[in-house]
C-alpha cells in the first residue's frame, strides 16, 4: 500500500542536561508516516520513545536541546516558534497521554474542555460547538453524552476518562494523533475498546497515528508498521507482521522471546542479559553490543547505521539475525 507521506522526521536528536551531564535521550531518529498509517514506537523505559513523540510536537524543547527536522506537510515544524506551533498543535496534530487524569483539567467540566478546543481551532458558533462536543462524546462511546457534558473529569471512570481525552484530542479533526501509552493504565477489556476506537477513528478520518507502547501485543493488534527503539535510537523498522514473525535485530528478537507465549508453562523465560546502559554512559559502538549474543569486535568499535535489509525493512545491526534462515540468536 502506498500512501502520501504526511510526516517526515529527519535526524531528530533530543539531549537533556542533568546535573551538568548531557543525556542523549533521542539520537538521530528518522522515520516517515503516511496518511492514515499507524506506526508503533516500541521500546523499554528509557529507550527514548516518549521523548521522540514529545519532540515532534516541540514539547521537549523546554527541557533540552532538539535538533533535526520534523517535516509536517512540507514545512519544518521543529524550527517553528512556540506561537506558530500552537496553530499546529491540537488542530493538525493532537496528542493523548497515558494518564488522562493528569492531562484533563479537574476544575473544568468535560463540556467546557471540549468546546474550548473547538473554539481555539474551528470557526464553529457557540451552539454548533456544543452540538459537536456532544457528537464527539457520543462518537467515542460515552453513554448519554448530552447529559455528561456538564460532568467533571473525576466523575468518569478510567476508561471513560481516556475516551474523553480522545474526544478532546480529536475534536478539531487532526490529521495526526500522537498517542503515548494510551492504554497502559487500563484493563485489558477496556484497552481493547479504546484501541478499537482509536483505529476506527483513524480509518474514518484518514488520520495518521504514532502509538508509543511497550506492549508487543498491542503493536500486533493495531500497528501497520513498527519502529523498535533502544537507548535513544531506532534499531529496527519493519511492517508489523514480518517484524513479529522474523525480527532481524537481536534486541527485537530478545524482546519477542521474553514474552511468555509459546513457552512451556513454568519453564524459564528468555531474558536479554544485562540492563540498558545509562544515557550518560553509552558504550562505544553499538549501544546494545554489551548485551548482544552475536556481538563482534566490529560492534564495539562502530555504531551500525540503520540499513535497509529488504523493501520496507531496516535494522541497525552489523550482524542481523533471521529466524527464517534458522540462525536464531
Amino acid at each position: 500500500m502506498t500512501r502520501d507521506t504526511i510526516l517526515e522526521v529527519r535526524n531528530l536528536s533530543t539531549t537533556f542536561a542533568r546535573a551538568g551531564r548531557a543525556l542523549p535521550a533521542v539520537r538521530d531518529v528518522s522515520f516517515t508516516l503516511g496518511r492514515g498509517e499507524v506506526l508503533g514506537l516500541v521500546g523499554e523505559s528509557g529507550s527514548g520513545k516518549s521523548v521522540t513523540l514529545r519532540s515532534i510536537l516541540g514539547l521537549s524543547r523546554h527541557y533540552g536541546t532538539v535538533t533535526g527536522e520534523v517535516r509536517w506537510k512540507g514545512r519544518d515544524i521543529a524550527s517553528l516558534s512556540e506561537r506558530a506551533l500552537r496553530s499546529v498543535r491540537g488542530r493538525e496534530i493532537a496528542m493523548i497521554f497515558q494518564e488522562p487524569m493528569s492531562s484533563l483539567n479537574p476544575l473544568l467540566t468535560v463540556g467546557m474542555q471540549l468546546t474550548e478546543v473547538l473554539k481555539a481551532h474551528t470557526d464553529l458558533g457557540r451552539s454548533e460547538r456544543r452540538r459537536r462536543a456532544i457528537e464527539m462524546l457520543d462518537h467515542v462511546g460515552i453513554p448519554s453524552a448530552a447529559a455528561r457534558l456538564d460532568d467533571y473529569p473525576h466523575q468518569f471512570s478510567g476508561g471513560m476518562r481516556q475516551r474523553v481525552m480522545i474526544a478532546i484530542a480529536l475534536a478539531a479533526r487532526p490529521q495526526l494523533l500522537l498517542a503515548d501509552e494510551p492504554t497502559t493504565a487500563l484493563d485489558v477489556t477496556i484497552q481493547a475498546q479504546i484501541l478499537d476506537l482509536i483505529l476506527g477513528l483513524a480509518r474514518e478520518y484518514e488520520m495518521g497515528v504514532i502509538l508509543v507502547t511497550h506492549d508487543l501485543g498491542v503493536v500486533a493488534q493495531t500497528c501497520d508498521r513498527v519502529a523498535v527503539m533502544y537507548a535513544g535510537r531506532i534499531v529496527e523498522e519493519a511492517p508489523v507482521a514480518p517484524l513479529l514473525s522474523d525480527p532481524r535485530h537481536p534486541y527485537t528478537m530478545g524482546l519477542m522471546r521474553s514474552v511468555p507465549e509459546g513457552v512451556a508453562p513454568r519453564t524459564a523465560l528468555y531474558s536479554v542479559p544485562g540492563t540498558p546502559p545509562a544515557l550518560d554512559a553509552l558504550p562505544q559502538g553499538c549501544a546494545f553490543a554489551p548485551r548482544c549474543p552475536s556481538a563482534s569486535a566490529q560492534c564495539t568499535a562502530t555504531d551500525p547505521a540503520l540499513n535497509r535489509l529488504a523493501p520496507g525493512r531496516s535494522a541497525a545491526c552489523h550482524h542481523p539475525v533471521s529466524l527464517a534462515k534458522g540462525d536464531a540468536a
Binding site: 542533568r18 546535573a19 528509557g46 529507550s47 527514548g48 520513545k49 527541557y63 545509562a278
Partner: protein
C-alpha cells in the same frame, strides 16, 4: 521525564551540595556564632554585664563601649552578648519538649487513628482557634512569671503544632507499601512507627522546628518585654529592649542593638531550616 535513565555520579554527598548554597552557609555561620556566644559569653564580652558604673551612664557608642552604656552605666555590648545565653536557651528549651511530645503523640495518633485521633482532632481545633501568644500569656498568668514557667507554657501549647504536622506526615507515609510490608513482616507497632515511619516523616517537622526556634526567641523576648519572662537584671533581649524603651529618643542604641540580635538569630534559623529541608529529603 520518566523515560530517561540517569546515573548520578557517586560520592557527591548531599552535604557537599548544600555547602555550595550561600543561604545554608550564612545560616550555619550565624547559628554557629550565636551558639559560641551563648556557650562562652565571658570570652567575648568586654565587661561584666552587671557591673554598674555611675561615671559612664547613658553613653553613646564609642571605642570603649561599642554599643554604648545604659542608664546604670552597664556596657550594652556585654549585656547583648550575655543575653545570647538566655535567648539561645529559649530557642532550645521552649521547643525541644514540644518537639518530643508532639512527634510522639502525632506519630501515635497518625498510626492508630481511631478514637484517640478523633479526640486529638477536636483538641487541635480548640487550641488553634486561639492566638498562640494569648494562650501562652494565659498559662504564664496562672503559673506566674519567670523563665521556667514560660518554657512550661510554650511547651503546653506548642506541642500541638508539632503533633498536627507529624500526624499528617505519618498518615501520608502509611500510604507507602513499606509500612504495609512492615506489618506483613510481623514487626511490632513500635518498630514500624519509630524505625520506619518516623525517620521518613520527620523532615518537615525538623524544618518547622528550625523556624519555631526563631519564633521561640521572638516569643521569649516578647514575654521578657512584657515582664512575664526573664526578670531584670538578667540580660535578655526582650528585657533589654524594655529597659531602653523610655529612652528611645535619647539613647536609641539600648533598644536597637538587642533588636538586631533577635532579627539576626531568627534569620539564621530560617536559612538553616531551608537548607535542612533539602539535606534531609530521602533520595530516589
Amino acid at each position: 521525564m520518566s523515560d530517561v535513565t540517569l546515573s548520578l555520579p557517586k560520592g557527591r554527598s548531599r552535604l557537599a551540595l548544600a555547602l555550595r548554597r550561600p543561604g545554608f552557609l550564612l545560616g550555619a555561620a550565624i547559628i554557629g556564632l550565636s551558639t559560641l556566644l551563648a556557650l562562652f559569653p565571658g570570652l567575648f564580652a568586654p565587661y561584666d554585664p552587671n557591673f554598674i558604673d555611675y561615671t559612664a551612664v547613658g553613653q553613646p557608642p564609642s571605642a570603649a563601649h561599642p554599643f554604648g552604656t545604659d542608664m546604670l552605666g552597664r556596657d550594652a555590648l556585654s549585656r547583648v552578648i550575655w543575653a545570647y545565653r538566655i535567648n539561645m536557651q529559649m530557642a532550645i528549651l521552649a521547643t525541644i519538649f514540644a518537639l518530643l511530645i508532639g512527634v510522639t503523640v502525632g506519630a501515635l495518633v497518625g498510626y492508630y487513628r481511631g478514637v484517640a485521633d478523633m479526640i486529638f482532632g477536636r483538641f487541635v481545633d480548640a487550641i488553634i482557634t486561639f492566638p498562640f501568644l494569648v494562650l501562652v500569656i494565659a498559662v504564664v498568668a496562672v503559673l506566674g512569671p519567670g523563665l521556667v514557667n514560660m518554657y512550661v507554657a510554650i511547651t503546653l501549647v506548642g506541642w500541638v503544632y508539632y503533633a498536627r504536622l507529624m500526624r499528617a506526615e505519618v498518615i501520608g507515609q502509611m500510604g507507602n507499601d513499606y509500612a504495609a510490608a512492615g506489618l506483613v513482616m510481623g514487626y511490632s507497632d513500635r518498630r514500624i512507627i519509630f524505625r520506619h515511619l518516623l525517620p521518613n516523616a520527620i523532615t518537615p517537622v525538623i524544618v518547622y522546628w528550625m523556624t519555631d526556634m526563631a519564633l521561640a526567641i521572638l516569643l521569649g523576648s516578647s514575654l521578657g518585654y512584657l515582664g512575664l519572662g526573664a526578670q531584670p537584671p538578667q540580660a535578655e533581649w526582650g528585657v533589654l529592649i524594655a529597659e531602653g524603651r523610655n529612652f528611645l529618643t535619647t539613647a536609641w542604641w539600648l533598644s536597637l542593638m538587642p533588636g538586631i540580635a533577635i532579627v539576626l538569630t531568627g534569620l539564621g534559623f530560617s536559612l538553616l531550616g531551608d537548607a535542612m529541608a533539602d539535606l534531609l529529603r530521602p533520595r530516589g
